[in-house]
Amino acid sequence: MSEPAQRIEVVSDQDVVRVRQLVRTLAVAVKLSLVDQTKLVTAASELARNTLVYGGGGTVEVGPADNGRRKGIRIVFSDQGPGIADLDLAFTDGYTSGGGLGLGLSGARRLVDEFDIVTAVGEGTTITVTKWCR
């Protein structure tokens, strides 16, 4: 019995807060540990803000994940923005094309168990992350 993914349109800073709250609620529901909850919420916060700031807004879908052995949370961030031209550069710690610390994308990858990115210049970016219960 898996519940359907919940969707949030991200068009303002408030929506990033809503994403964070939704992720926290679902993370508590699947019984992620406190550390993992915080890590996932932080990763979601980073990626949702990227969707907003660099992707020009988009959608975030948060839903339960189940690979038969473990349960977890899967979050999909997608935007129709400019895409990322140089992935290696984007994942370099400290590199930013905006005014941030340059740790959001690379940091978020370290905070989750699975990280998948699909991007093409001019076509937008879709990032799927999963965090499993230990």
């Binding site: 964070r20 550390v35 915080t38 890590k39 919420v41 932080t42 610390l101 740790l103 940091g107």
Partner: protein
């Protein structure tokens, strides 16, 4: 379907001739939807005013709500929505008050016993005019509510960022909740001003109440610390819980040589030890 000049004029007469019956019937209907949360006298007064507004708009042959003859009515409707919104009535309850006017008019027409096709056509035209008025109240209601929310957000911004004096020469900022750019700006301004006012060489930023520390929050805190340093004050960050510490490490955020402590008490002890004062 808009109201023609003839129809408007005919209704202006109906509204004038049967004003008492109309207002009574209308008030009764509204009262039943509001279930006694507004006094009967108050409702009666509002509806009497509104009836006059409708009557004047129609007498001025208003064809829809946007025209000049309906300006007075629009002002009354906006006023009504504003009061209802502030009194905590729902948008539906507010709009239904206007919709009920149609029932009251229908009851009046029934009492007259005129049931020909012209009356029907007239009624339908008036009905769409009233619908417009009700939608207008809905719009104004939402606008008033949005203003209320904006006001509250501003008040919250003010409320949630106190800078407290912990000890002689030590001020603390307990951060609670989401630290967005607007709040970070307020916090920074308050802290820097307090540093000047109190001449404190130490400031403790406590993040116990911040649920998630992401790169944006960290960046705001770092900027605040750097600004305080430029003014000659040392900052200590306290309230770093285990899960936050692990997240910060994974994110790769460097706090550099900024002193960090797990609790506010530790931070205070640290400051007192450095200043050579005795604290327990």
């Amino acid at each position: 379907m808009t109201l023609s000049a003839d129809e408007a004029a005919r209704f202006a007469v109906v509204l004038e001739d049967h004003q008492e019956a109309l207002v009574t019937a209308w008030t009764e209907r509204v009262a039943s939807t509001l279930r006694g949360r507004l006094s009967h006298t108050e409702l009666l007064r509002q509806n009497t005013e509104l009836r006059r507004g409708f009557q004047q708009a129609l007498a001025g042959s208003a064809q829809d709500l946007s025209g000049e003859p309906a300006a007075e009515l629009r002002a009354q409707l906006a006023e009504l929505s504003s009061t209802r919104a502030r009194q905590g009535f729902s948008a539906t309850e507010t709009a239904v008050s206007i919709f009920a006017f149609k029932d009251a008019v229908l009851a009046t027409l029934d009492a007259q016993g005129t049931t020909d096709a012209t009356t029907l056509r007239d009624y339908v035209a008036l009905s769409s005019f009233v619908d417009e008025a009700a939608l207008f109240t809905f719009d104004s209601y939402v606008r008033v509510r949005e203003e209320l929310i904006a006001d509250q957000a501003e008040q919250l911004l003010e409320l949630s960022t106190p800078v407290v004096k912990l000890w002689e020469g030590v001020v603390a900022v307990p951060l609670v909740g989401t630290l967005d750019s607007a709040r970070a700006q307020v916090v920074m301004e308050r802290l820097l001003q307090t540093l000047v006012d109190t001449g404190s060489p130490y400031a403790i930023i406590d993040i116990t109440g911040v649920p998630a520390v992401d790169t944006q929050v960290a960046q705001h805190i770092l900027k605040t610390v750097v600004a305080a340093r430029l003014m000659g004050a040392d900052c200590i960050i306290s309230g770093i819980r285990p899960q936050i510490a692990q997240t910060i490490v994974a994110l790769g955020i460097e706090f550099g040589d900024i002193a960090t402590k797990s609790s506010l008490a530790d931070a205070l002890r640290y400051v007192l030890a450095r200043t050579g004062k005795k604290g327990r």
